[in-house]
Symmetry: C2
């Protein structure tokens, strides 16, 4: 029996009474223009002004919602696309979220083999050691991981997670329309590829079950956009925590989003990105108050998810 970040995540969800997660996707169209303008006024070079805008986007959303939410999920692609300036903003945003008491999920979807996976796990979940020095590169608590390379590609991540009180979400059922191209392939034994993976996730995580909530350190990404499949995958992975994407802008509603929760209402967290960052449009707030609008959206999402959990038929 161990303790790990997935267990801490469930604890924080229970404390705030809200199984929702702030998604940060700082695409140029999502980050309010005025933040780029502020950056230009403050700094006379593109790199510093970009870093300012990207960091402020996350900082303001975090500050406005940290007391209501257990975790923040940072989409790495939308930091990497800005180069070194983006990676500086990523590091600072992660540190800021931790200071505010949120668990940090690196939505990195990294995957490789052997020692390369160790390096990725170190980048996000553990200390990097160089000679007598050690430091955290991009300090997250949990990261998302790709399954295509099989156990060799998962074990180094899982070992690092267990050693460092961290956690993982392995892609199982993604939220996109063509997810079935590979995930839905029907095998000779009657299972689909994602069902095989679900069985493997249960098996691979079995040695990392937590005492408090009976959850494995190896969670799974199971989308809100396929609720029937989420129910099926839950039955195959009773001790697996689900990260649930696809809510809001991608089309899934609260009833869809809670389909994969455990019978007692635990075991999953629903992530929303665009619907948070652009809530100022829905609530007709001035754009400078995009963070306050996100707070209103978080409160509404909390109510909707809890209602859906109360009224669902198990």
């Amino acid at each position: 029996m161990t303790k790990h970040a997935i267990d801490r995540l469930q604890l924080r969800i229970n404390e705030v009474g809200n199984p929702a997660c702030l998604g940060l996707d700082p695409h140029v169209v999502t980050v309010p223009d005025f933040l780029f303008e502020e950056g230009k006024v403050k700094y006379d070079n593109l790199s510093n002004s970009l870093e300012y805008a990207l960091f402020e986007f996350g900082r303001r959303l975090i500050d406005a919602t940290a007391d209501l939410l257990p975790a923040v999920k940072l989409q790495l692609a939308f930091y990497e696309m800005y180069g070194v300036a983006g990676m500086k903003a990523l590091e600072r945003t992660m540190l800021h979220a931790r200071e505010k008491g949120m668990l940090v999920i690196a939505d990195a979807k990294r995957g490789d083999i052997g020692s390369t996976c160790e390096a990725y796990a170190q980048a996000f979940l553990a200390e990097t050691r160089v000679g007598d020095h050690s430091f955290r590169a991009f300090p997250a608590d949990i990261m998302t991981v790709q399954p295509y390379t099989g156990w060799d590609g998962v074990k180094p991540f899982l070992d690092t997670a267990v050693e460092n009180d961290a956690g993982l979400f392995l892609l199982c059922r993604t939220s996109n329309p063509s997810a079935s191209d590979l995930q839905g392939l029907k095998l000779a034994d009657g299972r689909t590829v994602m069902e095989v993976l679900a069985d493997l996730i249960t098996q691979w995580g079995a040695n990392s079950l937590s005492e408090e909530y009976n959850l494995s350190a190896l969670g799974a990404v199971v989308a809100a956009t396929y609720p029937e499949e989420a129910r099926n995958l839950r039955s195959l992975m009773p001790q697996t925590f689900f990260l649930v994407p696809g809510y809001g802008a991608q089309g899934a509603g609260p009833d869809d989003a809670v389909a994969g929760f455990r019978a007692d209402g635990s075991g999953a967290i629903v992530s929303a990105s665009r619907s948070m960052a652009t809530a100022y449009k829905k609530f007709a707030y001035p754009i400078v108050d995009f963070d306050l609008a996100a707070r209103a959206e978080v409160l509404e999402m909390k109510e909707k998810l809890n209602l859906a959990l109360q009224h669902r038929a198990i």
Copy 2:
């Protein structure tokens, strides 16, 4: 008919007569200690001295081999694990390799859905635009991509690649022992998962065939460690360029590495990382000449691969 980076890669291979690729994996155990020491002498902070050592590792290997090799492959994990300092070294190493005339392969193994894939593709293969400014974040010519999310997760990468004279390698058959956990699953229709993916890669890439070498912009990762499967996958993907990992330190020899080449000896490149960076041990060079030892290793690898190509039974 189009031109793209995969086509340019084949051209460069023909020019230098060497289907080998320098892999850069700057793990702490691979980067010679004296480079970290030099960094400490030059800079009084960890971040700058790290950046120095990581950049110098790549720069010296590139300078010693650029005239003999068509391309360099940078393993992102071993830069990300050093945080922002690592990402600075990554950007500078990519720029340096381009100046030396090498094609740059970002071994990023990124994968996601929709606009997130666009962001990753922008990060490595295209310009990032912010207001009136545009810049290259991490300037590569080709990147490796994960297949698990299906067509939605490949199309944004492929569109960006075709628009920007770039290219892709989609993971198909990886080099690790447990690769078969998912890739080898037997389907109801008799094919394996990797065979389905091979058929999809052929189909998805069909609109990007180049005039000169009849190659698609969508290449595939097909490991040297499973030569029988490489031959089979070649028959399913005649117009697909293969990136071949697993040579040297991972156990595959030259005959294994060329198994997936086309009958005319084109259509693939063999990557080697550890065997290049640590060649000073094999050739008993002083460690300060690790780059000259890598040059000797490149010459030996070139001869071995060309011999294997000449003598193989098709």
